[in-house]
């Protein structure tokens, strides 16, 4: 065939001479419209928390417009921030979270380094296996763990139930796997030539880790730290099960159990407590949002 004998008798499409730039502006308008809608949806609860926290109990029970503060007051904040009990909750949460973050990084980073760089027998299975631990949720483990700790307490006399330091053992099970996974991803993206250059320069494995890998993978470390902190701070089930006396409680449990006194819901204080409880993660998020998101999406992009 000298020319391609294609019969143009296929169904012809009705050509719409719309304006491309007009289409594009409309697409943008719709995008912003829906984004605003979703933003409102996302922000209503926290904003409502703020509004309520500024109301005295008189205004709340007067059932005036709930979306507006007529007589703003900081009395809730003052009461909570001067309450030893609340400060105790805050302190417990802070202690637990900071220590857990440290423990997590101390476990995750060397493990990630070993799994990504030092190929040893079983390293590949271990790397995927680590991730599978998330398939065993805390809501399955809390009962056997409760029994285990009770038994351990009986055997050794070391009290593990109703002690906040118990959480230091449990929280890492939730943070270490993902942090290890993040770090494996970051470490794996460091070119092998850097290792070899370091070896030639005379560095031991440990020195390679501390002087080369950690500085280069710093964004990953920050992301992992943020993740570990946020997860620890937000824990509810484990502390609910393992801590019961008010001086042992962390913030999420403390606020939900103690501020709700019987049937009288002191909502002004509850919302203030909730907002203060949400403050640390929100602040970290506000300042380090990019690291936060980078940690999350390490999976989507680095695989």
């Amino acid at each position: 065939m000298s020319t391609l004998a294609i019969d143009k008798a296929g169904p012809t499409r009705k050509v719409k001479y719309g304006s491309m730039s007009r289409d594009r502006t409309w697409a943008m308008r719709w995008s912003y419209f829906f984004l605003t809608l979703f933003a409102i949806f996302s922000l209503v609860p926290p904003i409502y928390m703020l509004i309520t926290s500024l109301k005295g109990s008189a205004e709340i029970s007067a059932a005036t417009n709930p979306w507006w503060v007529f007589h703003p007051t900081l009395s809730n904040y003052v009461e909570l921030l001067t309450s030893n009990q609340f400060l105790r909750f805050f302190w417990n949460s802070a202690m637990v979270s900071v220590i857990v973050v440290t423990i997590t990084m101390l476990i995750s980073v060397p493990a990630a380094f070993a799994l990504s760089r030092m190929k040893f027998w079983g390293s590949a299975t271990l790397a995927t296996g680590v991730f599978l631990t998330y398939l065993i949720p805390d809501s399955l483990l809390f009962l056997p763990l409760f029994k285990m700790f009770a038994v351990f307490g009986d055997w050794t006399g070391i009290q593990l139930i109703n002690r906040w330091y118990v959480l230091l053992f449990l929280y890492p099970t939730l943070t270490v796997p993902f942090c290890t996974w993040i770090m494996i991803g970051y470490f794996a993206s460091i070119p092998k030539e850097l290792d070899e250059a370091a070896i030639i320069d005379g560095a031991s494995w440990f020195q390679t880790l501390t002087r080369i890998f950690i500085p280069v993978a710093l964004p990953g470390l920050i992301a992992a730290t943020i993740f570990a902190f946020t997860v620890s701070w937000a824990q509810f089930l484990y502390p609910l099960v393992f801590t019961t006396s008010t001086d042992q409680l962390v913030l999420p449990v403390g606020i939900t159990t103690t501020l709700i006194k019987g049937d009288v819901f002191n909502w002004g204080q509850i919302m203030t407590g909730a907002l203060l409880g949400a403050a640390p993660p929100l602040l970290i998020y506000a300042f380090l949002m990019d690291y936060y998101i980078a940690g999350l999406t390490a999976g989507a992009t680095k695989g």
Partner: protein, 366 residues
């Protein structure tokens, strides 16, 4: 009818003008190549024809209809991208038939078109493979197949061979030319490689900094460049530019290149440069292929001179020689048997019948 015409087309990004008013008429069945250095606006122009970029000002018509506001899917064009842009999750057959399937062409028709195009491009045994199983050259063929199958008004090629190795590039150039001979669709082809431009085009459009420098057939551009840019862009190795002056002494005009070197203006060029002011600083443009070894014969316009070579590059079928003249680095092409050696003197002949005189300031070829 599928002529393409661009009238006073402008593309502005914020305050940068990437395309600064170009006019171009492409006839039906013509193969036009837009060529130029990076940033000259050729890709932007192509994308405006495709509808992937908005046109800031001016008109583009395809087949007589103004398409400024028509979205790409309604312009009846096909495009071959530099990075192939094959759908990774579809087989070769599915990639090629995608456009037809969207328009609900009958299955039999799709099958026959795909088979025909695959045969033309010699990819019939690859028809069920996925892109990641193909080599670069094969992927490029599939991309071309995708374009052919739709039988559009215009083919658009955006530097399709830039990602291929040198040998493959030569092969694919021939394939593209063969396809055009068979299918005869109007084609607009963008490249930065002037060899591709010269070998493929019916007409070449040389662009620079958002404007068209010259439009012409490959031969036109080679023999009659209009500007210094075109003269230096077309042809490899590039044309030599030597500062010179025209001297007239008693009716004889000489081209003086240096204190020691002057050539008489050949009679073939005398008429052309009749009105060029004498004793003004000009540029002499002479292509390396017109600087060869002296071979003892004389011919009108061919002058011999002696020089000391700096560097030689033996290419096998010829040897490139480089020497310095009045501070300018000059390139010539001599026969390998001429005995050219680094640092050694050599007697060269310059064919001034193919000389060009340029005004350095305006860049115009006189």
């Amino acid at each position: 009818m599928a002529e393409v015409s661009l009238r006073k087309v402008v593309k502005r990004y914020d305050d940068v003008e990437a395309v600064r008013g170009i006019d171009l008429e492409i006839a039906d069945h013509e193969f036009v190549v837009l060529v130029g250095p990076s940033g000259c606006g050729k890709s932007t122009t192509l994308r405006m024809i495709a509808g992937l970029e908005d046109i800031t000002d001016g008109d583009i018509t395809i087949g007589g209809d103004v398409v400024n506001d028509v979205p790409p899917k309604d312009r009846d064009i096909a495009m071959v991208f530099q990075n192939y842009a094959l759908y990774p999750h579809m087989t070769v057959a599915e990639n090629m038939s995608f456009g037809l399937r969207l328009k609900h062409y009958p299955k039999a028709e799709i099958k026959s078109r795909v088979t025909e195009a695959a045969r033309m491009l010699d990819i019939t045994d690859l028809i069920d493979r996925k892109p990641k199983q193909l080599s670069g050259g094969q992927r490029q063929r599939v991309a071309m197949g995708r374009a052919i199958v739709r039988n559009p008004k215009v083919f658009l090629f955006d530097e399709p061979l830039s990602n291929l190795d040198a040998k493959l590039r030569v092969q694919m150039r021939i394939e593209i030319k063969k396809v055009h001979q068979k299918v005869r669709t109007t084609t607009v082809y963008v490249t930065h490689d002037q060899v591709e431009a010269m070998t493929l085009a019916d007409r070449v459009v040389v662009m620079n900094k958002g404007k068209i420098e010259q439009i012409g057939t490959p031969n036109d551009l080679y023999h009659n460049p209009a500007t210094r840019f075109v003269a230096g862009f077309i042809g490899s190795p590039a044309m030599n530019f030597l500062p010179c002056r025209l001297e007239e002494t008693g009716g004889n005009v000489n081209v003086r290149v240096s204190d020691r070197l002057a050539f008489p203006l050949p009679p073939a060029r005398a008429a052309r440069y009749q009105n060029v002011p004498r004793n003004e600083k000009l540029l002499l443009g002479i292509r390396p292929e017109h600087l060869t070894e002296a071979n003892g014969h004389t011919a009108p316009g061919v002058e011999n001179f002696e020089t000391v070579l700096d560097v030689t590059e033996p290419m096998g079928m010829e040897t490139l020689v480089y020497f310095t003249l009045e501070g300018t680095y000059v390139c010539g092409r001599v026969d390998p048997s001429a005995g050219a050696r680094d640092g050694a003197p050599l007697r060269l002949a310059v064919d001034l019948n193919n000389m060009h005189l340029l005004n350095e300031g305006t860049g115009a070829v006189l």
